[in-house]
Each structure stands twice: as C-alpha cells, then as structure tokens.
Point group: none
Chain length 419, copies 2
Amino acid sequence: MTANISLLSIGNELLDGRTTDTNATFLGALLEQHGYSLKYCLKAADDMTDIQDALDYLTSHSDFIVVSGGLGPTSDDLTRDAIAAFCDCPLKLSEEDLLRIKKYYTERGRDFQEANKKQAYFPNGSKIISNHGGTASGFHLSHKRSIILSLPGVPREFRTMLQGDVLPILSSHFPLEQKKQKISCRLFDMPESKAAGIVTGCKLPESVQVGYRAHFPELEISLSTQDKNINLEELYSKISTQLGQEYIYTKNSSYHLPEVVHQLLLESGKTLALAESCTGGGISSVLTDYSGSSKYLRGGAVTYSNESKTTLLGVKEETLRTHGAVSHETVLEMASGARKALQADLALSVSGIAGPEGGSEEKPVGTFFIGLATANDCISRHFLFPAARDMVRTKAIYNALDLIRRYLLGLSLSGRAKD
Amino acid sequence: MTANISLLSIGNELLDGRTTDTNATFLGALLEQHGYSLKYCLKAADDMTDIQDALDYLTSHSDFIVVSGGLGPTSDDLTRDAIAAFCDCPLKLSEEDLLRIKKYYTERGRDFQEANKKQAYFPNGSKIISNHGGTASGFHLSHKRSIILSLPGVPREFRTMLQGDVLPILSSHFPLEQKKQKISCRLFDMPESKAAGIVTGCKLPESVQVGYRAHFPELEISLSTQDKNINLEELYSKISTQLGQEYIYTKNSSYHLPEVVHQLLLESGKTLALAESCTGGGISSVLTDYSGSSKYLRGGAVTYSNESKTTLLGVKEETLRTHGAVSHETVLEMASGARKALQADLALSVSGIAGPEGGSEEKPVGTFFIGLATANDCISRHFLFPAARDMVRTKAIYNALDLIRRYLLGLSLSGRAKD
C-alpha cells in the first residue's frame, strides 16, 4: 500500500514572507529517497481554527500527516492544543518529559522557565517522540484512518527527528512493497519545448511518467515507473540518444553545470585562466564556490573598461578600435592574453552586452562572444540571447562553462542550432 | 473587508525536495507590505485530481487564490486544464496570446514550437494577464465567491506579474480600509540577538509590533502598528540611534547592501578597481549585476595563485614569502597594485581562507583581510569569521562592500566590537 503523506507547516512567519519553508523541501527529498512521496504541503497561521481546518482537509486526503512547528513555549504556539481539540484527546502532563526538559536546562547551566512546562503536555493516548536537541518533544497519534505526527519546526530538530524517529514509524505502518524505478538527467542548451517534442516522439509506455523541470538555464528530465517489467534504462538510452548525449551534462545526480565543470577541471589536471567582461567575475565566482578550485584556477581578469583589456590582458588598442570590445577578435585576444599572463593551460574569455543599455542595431542587448585559448587553438563563438540583464549574464556564464566541458570531453565545440 | 488570500503552488518538484517554494515567501512578504495577509499556502503535485481537490479546499476557505506553476508547454503542466475543469469553463484558444508567443520566439531568433500552442488556451470567460518575460501568460476568473488567479511558476515571471498586475486586481476587489503604519530598516554587521536586546531596552508601546528577519549577512528590523496615535517615526529615530546609525544601510527599502553601494559609487563619481583572492570575483560579480556599474568599475583581478598576484597586481614576491598571501601586507599591495594597474580612484582587495582546507593555527579557516587604497591612504582590516566556505565568502564580500560604503559616507572605517 502506498502511503499518502502530507506536511502541515504552522507559523505566521511562513505566511508573511519572513521565513521560507525549507522543512518541506527536506521532507520531500527524504521521502523520495526512501521510496515514499509527499502528496500535499499546507501552511497555516498560528490560529486554532485554521490549524483544525487544515487537519480536517489533510486527514481526509492523506494517511500520514507530519505537522511542523507551533510546539514552542510562547502564547502563539498552538499546535498541541489544536491537535488535542481536533482529535478530541485532551492534553495531559508527561512527568517524564517534564524531567527531560528540566534536565535539558540544567545541562546547559540555565534555569528552567515556567513557560516551558506547557511543552510537557501531550494529547491523551499519543506517543511521545523525544527531542534530544531542544525543549519541544514531538508526538504521534491515530485519528480515524490517519496518523498525525507533530514535530518542532526548528529545521535542525525537525530533520534529526524525521530521520531518527519518523522514518521507522512510517515504514512500520506503510512498508514499501516495491521501489519506484527512476532515472533523471540534466541538460544544458536544450529548450524545454524542444526536449518535450523529442520525448513525446519516443512514444513511451503509459506507465512511465515523464517530469520536466526548467531551472534556468538548465533542464532536468526524469522518467519513473512503478512497473517492474519495464526496462527503464533501455528507454532512457533511447531518449538520451534522441536528445543528443552531448547536451546531457549529468545523470542521476543533483549537480548543476558549474559543479560538473569543476570536477572535470580537477580530473583533467589542466589549469585555467579567465578573462571576463560582461559576466563581471561571474564565471570565476561560481567556480571558486567549490573547495579545491585553487588547484586549477590560476586567476582571472575582470576587464570592464577598454583600458583594462589592454593593461591586464594585452588586447591591442587597434583591435578594440577596429572591431569593438564585443567581437570575435577581442575575445580571442582576451583569451590568449589571459592564458599568457596567468601561465595557464586553458583560458576562457567573455565579452558582451548584458543590457539594458549599450545595445545597437548591429550588436543588440544579449549579444556575447566567448573565446577559448588552448595550447594549440584559439576559438570563439557568437551568441545572441535577448533577455533581462541577469539572464544574459547567467546564460553567458553557463555557455562559457559548457564550452570548457565540451572541450574537456572532446565534444563538438560549435553546438548545433537550438530550436 | 479583509481578503482571505491563499496560494496554491503546483509542481512535483515542490513535493519531492528538488525545489524550495520561494514564491510563497515572496507573495507573503509582498502582501504584508501592502497591508494584506496570506492565509494558507498549499502545494500540490502535477495531477488533475490533486489540483482540483486543492482548489475545492482553498475556494471554500479564501476569497482570492493565487495559483503558481503548471502553465508550461509540457505534458505534466496541468494547471490550466484543472482550473478549467474545476470552474466548468472549457479552454478556448486566444489568437491574441498565440500571436504574442510567436512574437516572443521571433524576437529571440528562435522557431515557434507546436508544444507552446497549448499555452495560448485559457478557461472560457477568464481574463488574460499578459506575460512580457516568458511564454506562459496568466489569467484570472471568478468562481462562486472566490477569484482564482493563475500565474507561471518561474520566480522572475511570477514576481513581475504579481507586482505589476495582481496587486491592482487584488486592491480593486478588496480595497484596504486603513493602512498599517510601518517602518523598516536593514543593518549590516549587527547580530540579531544584540539588536533584539537594544530594541527591547527601548520599551516600545504594546501596540507596536517588532519584526526581525535575518537574511545572512543582513538583518531587517521592522516596526508596525495599527494605532494612528503613535508617532512611529519618533520611536524609530530613538531605536536607530541606540542601534547605531552607521550600521543601518537602508531605510524603508528592499535594497540589499550591494545595491546601496552600487548607488553610492554612481553618485560619488569615483572609479573602482578590485583585487580578489578568496572571494574569487564575487565582489565584482555582485556589483556588475547592476546596470550602470560600467560607469565606475574599471575592472578587477581575480588572483587565486601567488603568481597571479605578482603578474597582474605587482605584489612583491618577498611580501608573499615573508607575510604570506593572507596578510595585511599582501592586501595592501594588492589594493595599491590594482588601483595603479587599472587607473582607478579607489581599489578594494580581499585575501583570506574560505576553507574547508588551507587553515592553520595562526590563520584558521574564516580569516580574511580587506584592503582599501585611495588617492591619499591605504588601509587594511583583519577579520575572523569561522563558518562554512560559502558563508565566509559572502561575509568577506559584504565586509568589503561595507568598507566602501563607510568610506564614501565618511563613517568610521574600523567598525566596533560586535557583541
């Protein structure tokens, strides 16, 4: 039997924009990892009626409801009262848990506060889930066909108790009969609509679900099925060939393109230099996010002004005058200049017009050039991606990284038409 | 009349842990800012029944339902179908919107895909909310006592359409009778617990609510009240003096520190050069996010290796040998070297140990130095912020920007003790 699992997150701060609900993300990923899935997530304010209404909805649509938050000591923490009222199980003091809270304070050299006594009350008949990292213990109880399980909302405590206590409770009630088969991959430079056209053309069996997730400028495609007789690897192999293997930069992983390129650079043993104009240090910044990038990154120049292109990278004034800062010629000189100045094996350069100002008829906003210098070659590519400033910059950063990926993997450096 | 507003976020990726729902946070904050509030947030999977069940619940509990996501061109995008079925308003092609989508592609030099045609269908009787930044337009329609409003889930499009189109629709249906008084400010280099202690010490009237929101490494404090007789400006003035005006970098705005520094640099007429080691181009990258940064940013050097510090910035080999790359002496030479090489009025330099490797007893992970070179002075500051790599880097970027802010405003450059 598949469990319908829901999350009810409680707290005004989740509704007024002060806090993003990361507990939902954590629970979703954890369940997915263990073969379960989350059906609904609902957020409600610190309000008796709202919480009970939410429980009413969720218990009629799911078997297992995790409630997060509202177990604190202050007057706006109402979760235990609301669950007790909803299930008609009045709150009862647990002397054992009260001792635990007192001990929690003693061990930290702090005085027990009367306000915390409230946290040792639990709905009659519920089972306590002890909290070893905070004052609020959780609890769970059955209500009609459902199980309601309440945990503190502090992310660290929520996560620890989920993994240590809740998963065993869940699997004892809803043992997994079979795991879903699942394969996912991530692509760059492949529009969602184009990928969808290709996948649809592959005519998959009906029992295979296809998911698309565009996370600009990347695209994730996932295949999943409950059907044991389906050879999902074979289907994936067919689809990935149709999509073009070169666009797929990772399979069954949650890596983004920069991390994949970081790994490839580490493995290659080659050093890299950067020369960035319109991306303003963005390539450098995403690569140095990863520990170990100092092993391959010699350094880089952010050359926003023409003078800096000349001073730092040795771009000829004549090149800038004749072809402009945004041109094949300039990125080629930027790349070879950076490679030489920083004594690197490879150098990557970008120059473009991120906008919203600076565009012309010949070179509109969204125009950018990427150059790559290696020991043997110097190549440059022209792109046009008319969009908002931050999107142009992101697209340029990713295209530059993808050029390095393609180079290191021996793939075509020219790509192909996009649509 | 107060509107009960809800959000329904649709997408498997929100339930399986791949994506955190930041649209909920944005909507909550926006409503709060305009005197409204969010009652429920519900997430549902890409499933016809689940979406309709969710709509059934939300329409019976709220007057205005914003639906986010599921308007894409692929087979798992079911929001328009589900709303059409739920409201019994069959989908109808909008020729006008189809033209808009085709134009969207043409303008970007891409071919229109048949899959996108689906996005020009809207429930009969609904009003279209045009999308100027993507292919999926939104729409809204009345159902019984409620208004259902559907928007694309891509955060950038969702946000633009919320602010530009949805707020006017909301306020035309639910005009606010009286606005809450509200003042907010944002601080840098002020721990939340310290700020809370100071504000508590100011003994505010009970009808004034104080909100704290830590958005690393910034802190926002807001004061609000429904009481017309309270002089909130006077209270704010008292509190801000106690906190220290120099820590407050903006008032009543949603600017982050980098944008404030960007504005100050534009107004100052001074040019800037950057020399970054451990921040890896991060300072440069955040400043060039803003249009117009080319007016002051001459360029920068990302000098990860010792050699690059010498080649690009002229840091003496002896300085590196004697004092190390992470030292007062090195950041001073980096700053003055960058100022000279890039012919700028000001130069900022950073060198440090972001970790997790590379720390020593003398210079543990989280150690960083910031240098500032001006026409008359060269100063450097030492910091220790032991934390995870990305936090150390962010903290170093913000401290460097704050040093420029303090310099341009004529404030103390040394700051004061933090706790």
